[in-house]
């Protein structure tokens, strides 16, 4: 009996969101209740799927009951379950924050768009079909665009045009890539593509290599890999704070898709692809890390600082991906979980600060309401993102360094020097924001709504990092198994029950 739960992370928001549009569009309280209930339910479903995926081999869900590769399949494996869980945790934190700070009252349809966004994310993580991945990329692109320009405003709309414009280029490219893959392999099912690419006639190698570059470029755009990262700082810095926090997972969709495609069908094992992807990814990843770190040091606003910290973390993840070893992949996944939560927390903190200072600029201003508490949160968030101990960022960095021993001199140098820039950048920012205000001698700003729920949600994200640190051992063991399964995709392929694979 096939479990319908696999598709629940897509269907639930796909029903709840239109319901909100249909009957609750004029009542914010109802939207909040149902939106939050939806996110909580998604969390519960994700947890159940995570447990199932931990104990069972990958499982396919045949949509429309059509056998693979002719219909669309969803595949639940450890990686997709992990991404679902991560999304749900992040979403819950962000949504609580939004409700507490009334961000959802600044424009229309926030909760519907939010749920659609989750649907897009979940769909992208679950699908086992290359074209369907495109469809869900579209869902999350349009929903994220809606969230990004939520509340409007000149700068935000301008940045929104950049975001949608650049990503539409990516969408077009995705279609080119899909067309090429289909023209060569005659299939869209990822597992089937894997089978076909592995057995590809030699004369088709050039085309599939070009297709791989095109497709991975699309994912790299999502994942902000240099030189395709230019859209990110403006977008994230101008998006509403909590939306930018949710976007912490958006770059990870790119990372996920790169990992999935390059371990399943564009693998280094296939003669046509060979070491091409790793060779291309490593230098780009190292530059990404460096650019992100430089950006943190040179950021002019807190939001941009957070955005560049996010870019730097993507650089770290891609650096580890490029090794294509289970150890490095496992390290990258650990770092991925960490950086998603940490980046999100920092964006929320940035929003708390900006909301109280009335400006995002990193300059000296009078003290703000709840300064001590916010400064404390910033300190913890900065430690996390700079990869300082004792939080998971440090452990993640150690894991990556340890796993990348092979190329130690270059990679270690870049990673450690970037860490230094990050430390300097965060120290400068924190010192200007929270210390210099004591020197202005002006009275603190008048009171601000205390918004306890907002602080709880930020605290919860940071607490998740603490948990990730304390339970690093079991988490890493789990990720080791996940990474091993990724690099041995036979189980994933078997779940599809392709007619020509026994």
């Amino acid at each position: 009996m096939m479990s319908h739960w696999i598709i629940a992370p897509v269907v639930l928001p796909a029903i709840l969101a239109p319901l909100i549009v249909l009957v609750m569009r004029n009542d914010l309280t109802l939207q909040r209740i149902f939106g939050l209930a939806g996110t909580v339910a998604l969390g519960a479903i994700a947890a159940a799927l995570l447990i199932a995926a931990s104990h069972n081999p990958p499982e396919a869900y045949l949509l429309g009951n059509w056998p693979a590769p002719f219909g669309i399949v969803l595949v639940l494996d450890r990686l997709s379950a992990m991404m679902l869980m991560l999304t749900a945790i992040l979403a819950l934190g962000v949504q609580l924050y939004v409700i507490s700070t009334d961000w959802d009252a600044r424009g229309r349809h926030f909760h519907a768009l939010f749920l659609f966004q989750l649907m897009g994310l979940n769909g992208a993580f679950l699908t086992g079909d290359a074209f369907n991945l495109f469809v869900f990329f579209e869902v999350l692109l349009i929903a994220s665009y809606g969230l990004m320009i939520h509340g409007a405003g000149k700068d935000r709309l301008r940045a929104g045009v950049q975001y949608i414009g650049f990503n539409l280029v990516a969408s077009t490219l995705f279609l080119f890539a899909l067309a090429t893959v289909y023209a060569v392999t005659g299939t869209l099912n990822m597992a089937d593509i894997a089978v076909k690419v592995a057995a590809l006639p030699e004369g088709d190698a050039a085309l599939i290599r070009a297709a791989a570059v095109l497709m991975l470029s699309v994912f790299a755009i999502k994942g902000a890999l240099v030189p395709l990262q230019f859209w990110l700082p403006g977008t994230y810095a101008n998006a509403p704070g909590p939306v930018a926090a949710l976007f912490a997972i958006m770059t990870k969709v790119g990372a996920y898709a790169i990992l999935r495609s390059s371990t399943l069908f564009f693998t280094p094992d296939s003669p046509a692809i060979g070491s091409m992807i790793g060779d291309l990814m490593l230098p780009a990843a190292l530059v990404t890390l460096a650019i992100g770190a430089v950006g943190v040091l040179g950021a002019t606003t807190l939001q941009r600082l957070a955005a560049f910290a996010g870019i730097a973390s993507m650089g770290t993840i891609f650096t580890a991906f490029s090794a294509f070893t289970p150890a490095a992949t496992s390290a990258a996944l650990y770092y991925l979980i960490h950086s998603t939560l940490a980046t999100a927390a920092l964006f929320l903190i940035a929003d708390l600060v900006t909301d109280r200072r009335g400006s995002a600029r990193l300059d000296a201003r009078p003290r703000i309401a709840q300064q001590g508490l916010i400064a404390g949160l910033f300190f913890v968030g900065a430690i996390a993102l700079a990869g300082m101990p004792p939080l998971s960022g440090f452990i993640g960095k150690l894991l990556v360094l340890d796993a990348m021993r092979g190329d130690a001199p270059l990679i270690w140098t870049v990673v450690l020097l970037s860490s230094l820039l990050l430390i300097l950048g965060f120290a400068r920012a924190g010192s200007v924001l929270f210390w210099k205000s004591h020197a202005t001698g002006e009275a603190p700003e008048p009171g601000h709504a205390s918004e306890p729920l907002a602080f709880i949600s930020v605290g919860a994200l940071l607490a998740a990092l603490v948990a990730l640190t304390i339970f690093a051992g079991p988490v890493k063991d789990w990720l080791d198994l996940t990474a091993t399964a990724l690099h041995q995709p036979a189980g994933y392929i078997a779940a599809n029950q392709l007619p020509w694979v026994n």
Partner: protein
């Protein structure tokens, strides 16, 4: 578990003061002190075993796959350091209670202090170098908070950042070093690494590891050339300086060298690097200290100097020197903490620490003078205090070691000692001796017991160790030295080494020279002031500030928000990479036969090219380009029809109609011409990029279209199963609603969201604000409008067309499953029929007759499609599984009922709702922009004044 608890207690205790400050300052301090005392007591309980030579261990698995575990060990070295950290920590807590003023947030202070204490205890108890790294970096972080505690002082903020930058970067280097070390030794556990001396020193990676680890140690312990941060960290409150810079933080580097001594020391590399760094630091630090006027700065550089001394001793690589180093660590901690606290008392009472403004305090502050006097004499190495003992032993060691020429090391050591005497005496002479002045910023007197209790205790220790070293300290030195060297050590400390001991004469020279220097101070000072010398802070700023400015400039220049540039870079990068990837693989050209070029196709192709080029060339004229885009759309529709894809043709043509209407509405709000924004050079550049990428895509398309699938494609299955499996003969439709219905489900949601977005954006624009004002202003500027906005003929015609169009829509919907058509096209046809009403009769008229809200249509559409999908669960089938049957209903012919039709209905509703909502939103903008509408039936509204 005890060791883990000792390390954890300060961290747990860090939570308390922040809370308990609400119960009062004394309660806060008491609780903080109790936690430290508890940890100290636990440590004392372990002491007997350690002194017997055992190594106490606690092992907790944390991240075993990496080799990072919470393993702790306590040996003699750990006991010594942990004792110093907790013991002096306790005194600092007491001292700080009375030192901090009422306006200083004491709870925060103690919280930071405890965090720091925990990190330090963690370092010295770690049995795992990765764990040690964690604590190591934690000390950098917590000291950052402590040094910057007085947030309002710029020196505090800068000093904190400098300390973090220097020690933090050293820590990063150390990460690399430790990872290399662990790799060589095969374990990250110290207890294992310490047994691997031969392997480690034989490894080719020994030198990199050594240098990287020493970078960590030297930065932390402020060794030359990293000594500059320490004095700037003196902006911290004095209790912090006393703690960090006497007993703890700066000793962490020393601890590390001592800890690693068994495996790293003993090589020429170690000897040369460590000894010379130590020696240079000792001399330079002492020299600078002598000329500093600020009491704390003087003490800070003297600390630098003494740390250099200890480093040098460790660098010598002999067990005896290491033992002396250990002894000096103890002595330095006692007298230096006492001195810092005394300096703090002076500052607290006289409100200045400037030696030029002090003097004569001997009479005003006798207690403080006694304490400071004992400690300073010890620092100078005057008998019988403890500083004398270890200094003699140091000189003894120096006298027997050659660094380059034989005389060099002894001479330099003597010079260091000489300076040491000089600044110690200056501290006393210029601070406490001399006549009482009447121009102190604040009339000083001895503080209350609370403030001088801690330094007094330390001064007592200075005397006791000085008088009875064997009884009071030797056992601890033995235990620690044995742990450092790995062999049992027994130290013999004595005051008198005999007349033939070179140390005696070196010492006498040092004391004599020191006195002479002090006597000559004014002249030396003038010389010193006259010599230019590099100012550490200036150099540091000269590095860091441009770095930050450069980072800002680079970041701003790279990420300036230019979309065109971003896309240009992406296009170049992706095209080049794809081309490279293609060229580095084998390519066999396709073998498909080409179709013949007929005149019709040639004309269509020519039109397509013409229109496409036209758009690129005249894109600044928006209306004209829109028309050309319409031509492109039409040709593509024709192309689909010609290539036997009627479904696609039908969809394309309806989409084209709707798109053009949309664009026309949007053009309403845009200037007729786009301003010229790029220079000719830039346009040429862009043209080259675009043509290059376009050529690449064309080549790709050509390659794709001229070749056959490498493997049988899945489409054969779709064609074969369309009727028997999905119940429809139109494979395109069955793919859309059945085989790949899930894709369609996603796409209608995309469409629905897009419409919601347009609505939300329009709402935002309609709110009062600048954008709204701009819209309103547009109305006034409009000229050249047609007088008759709703021509009667068109109004009448569209109203007749409406039911006909809807019939066609229903027809297209129903036949969809078997013949070209379907819900998507039907939705568009319905939408077009409605749009015609908008265009002909105006928004108000149409809206007044519209009973179903567009939002509801979208919602209902998605829900219907979802229901069709979820419904199959009831039959135990997966989402979107379809079923069909044939029904015979008189008088109709037999017809098919398929669940896919329900899904298609959802598609239909969603498409209709989405298109209408989007159009409606744009129309509402038009209305806001000043258009008038009438909602009367059959009436025709006119623009104002356009009679």
């Amino acid at each position: 578990m005890t060791l883990a608890l000792i390390a954890a207690l300060p961290f747990l205790g860090a939570l308390l003061p922040g809370l308990l400050i609400r119960a009062g300052r004394t309660a806060c301090a008491t609780v903080t002190g109790s936690v430290t005392a508890l940890a100290l007591a636990l440590l004392a309980l372990q002491a007997p075993a350690v002194l017997r030579g055992e190594v106490v261990q606690t092992r907790i698995e944390w991240l075993p796959s990496l080799g990072l575990n919470a393993n702790f060990m306590l040996d003699g070295l750990g006991l010594l350091f942990a004792g110093l950290i907790l013991g002096i920590g306790l005194l600092i807590i007491l001292y700080a209670r009375f030192y901090l003023s009422k306006s200083d947030p004491m709870g925060v202070f103690y919280t930071y202090l405890m965090l720091f204490q925990g990190a330090m205890v963690g370092i010295v108890l770690s049995d795992n170098i990765l764990l040690l790294l964690i604590f190591w970096e934690l000390t950098s972080l917590s000291s950052f908070l402590l040094i910057g505690y007085w947030k309002h002082l710029p020196e505090g903020r800068q000093g904190a950042r400098m300390a973090l930058a220097v020690t933090g970067s050293g820590g990063l280097a150390m990460i690399a070093g430790m990872l290399i070390l662990g790799n060589i030794a095969g374990s990250y556990d110290l207890s294992v690494i310490l047994t691997q001396k031969v392997v480690i020193q034989a490894s080719g990676w020994y030198l990199p590891a050594l240098i990287l680890i020493l970078l960590g140690a030297f930065t932390k312990s402020a060794q030359f050339p990293f000594h500059f941060w320490l004095p700037h960290a003196m902006a911290a409150p004095t209790p912090v300086s006393a703690y960090l810079h006497s007993a703890t933080m700066v000793k962490a580097g020393i601890f590390l060298m001592a800890r690693m001594w068994p495996v790293l020391a003993g090589t020429p590399e170690w000897f040369w690097i460590v000894t010379s760094a130590g020696l240079i630091t000792m001399v330079i630090g002492a020299k600078i200290a002598f000329f500093k006027d600020d009491l704390k700065a003087l003490l800070a550089f003297s600390t630098v100097s003494h740390l250099g001394l200890i480093t040098m001793l460790l660098g010598l690589g002999t067990a005896k020197a290491a033992t002396v180093a250990i002894f000096h660590i103890i002595n330095h901690a006692t007298f230096k903490a006492a001195l810092f606290m005394s300096a703090g008392i002076v500052d607290h009472e006289a409100h200045t620490r400037d030696l030029r403004r002090l003097g004569g305090l001997r009479h005003l502050m006798p207690v403080t003078f006694t304490i400071a006097g004992i400690a300073a004499l010890s620092m100078a190495g005057i008998p019988p205090f403890n500083g004398f003992l270890s200094k003699e032993m140091m000189l003894e060691e120096a006298a027997h070691t050659a660094l380059g020429p034989d005389w060099l090391l002894p001479v330099l050591a003597t010079i260091g000692a000489l300076f040491s005497v000089a600044y110690s005496f200056r501290f006393l002479a210029h601070g406490f001796l001399g006549p009482v002045r009447d121009d102190y910023p604040h009339k000083p007197h001895d503080p209350g017991f609370g403030l001088w209790a801690a330094p007094a205790l330390l001064a007592t220790l200075v005397v006791i160790i000085g008088l009875a070293p064997m009884a009071s300290a030797a056992w601890l030195v033995d235990a620690a030295a044995s742990a450092v060297t790995g062999t049992a050590q027994e130290v013999h400390i004595k005051h008198w080494h005999g007349l033939y001991s070179p140390a005696l004469w070196m010492s006498i020279a040092a004391v004599g020279g020191g006195f002479a220097m002090l006597a000559a101070f004014p002249r030396l000072r003038a010389m010193w002031d006259g010599t230019p010398r590099p100012e550490a802070k200036a150099i540091f700023d000269a590095i860091v500030e441009p770095l930050a400015a450069g980072a800002r400039a680079l970041t701003q220049a790279l990420h300036n928000g230019s979309l065109t540039r971003a896309i240009a870079i992406a296009t170049i990068a992706i095209t080049a990479t794809a081309l490279w990837a293609f060229n580095s693989g084998t390519h066999s050209p396709g073998t498909r036969e080409m179709l013949a070029i007929t005149p019709v196709t040639a004309i269509a192709w020519g039109l397509l090219m013409f229109a496409t080029l036209g758009v690129a060339l005249i894109h600044r004229n928006r209306l004209l380009s829109l028309i050309l885009i319409g031509i492109i759309g039409l040709i593509i529709s024709l192309g689909f029809a010609w290539l036997s894809a009627p479904d696609l043709a039908l969809t394309q043509i309806t989409v084209e109609v709707v798109t053009v209407v949309f664009m026309l509405l949007a053009l309403n709000f845009l200037p007729k011409e786009t301003p010229r924004e790029s220079s000719p050079v830039r346009r040429i550049r862009d043209a080259v990029i675009a043509i290059g990428a376009g050529a690449g895509i064309a080549g790709l398309a050509y390659a794709i279209m001229t070749r056959n699938f490498a493997f049988p494609s899945i489409s054969a299955y779709h064609l074969e199963q369309s009727k028997p499996g999905a119940g429809g003969t139109n494979a395109v439709n069955t793919i859309i609603v059945d085989f790949r219905g899930y894709d369609t489900f996603g796409e209608i949601i995309v469409l629905g969201i897009a419409a919601l977005l347009i609505y939300a954006l329009a709402e935002a624009l309609l709110k009062p604000g600048p954008a709204n004002d701009a819209l309103r202003a547009m109305a006034a500027t409009r000229t050249g409008l047609a007088g008759d906005r709703h021509p009667l003929l068109m109004v009448m015609a569209t109203r007749f067309i409406l039911p006909v169009a809807m019939m066609i829509g229903v027809f297209i919907f129903l036949r969809g499953h078997n013949l070209p058509g379907g819900g998507f096209v039907a939705g568009l046809v319905f939408a077009i029929a409605t749009v015609m009403q908008y265009m002909a009769s105006g928004l108000g008229w149409t809206e007044a007759r519209q009973r179903i809200d567009h939002h509801a249509l979208i919602g209902a559409g998605v829900l219907t499609a979802a229901a069709a999908g979820v419904g199959s669960w009831l039959f135990g089938a997966p989402f979107l599984a379809s079923s069909y049957t044939y029904v015979h209903l008189w008088p109709l012919e037999e017809f098919e009922l398929a669940t896919a039709a329900i899904f298609d209905l959802g598609v239909f509703l969603c498409v209709l709702g989405a298109v209408l909502l989007a159009l409606n939103s744009l129309s509402r903008l038009a209305r806001r922009a000043g258009e008038t509408v009438s909602a009367d039936p059959y009436s025709v509204d006119r623009p104002e004044g356009g009679n």
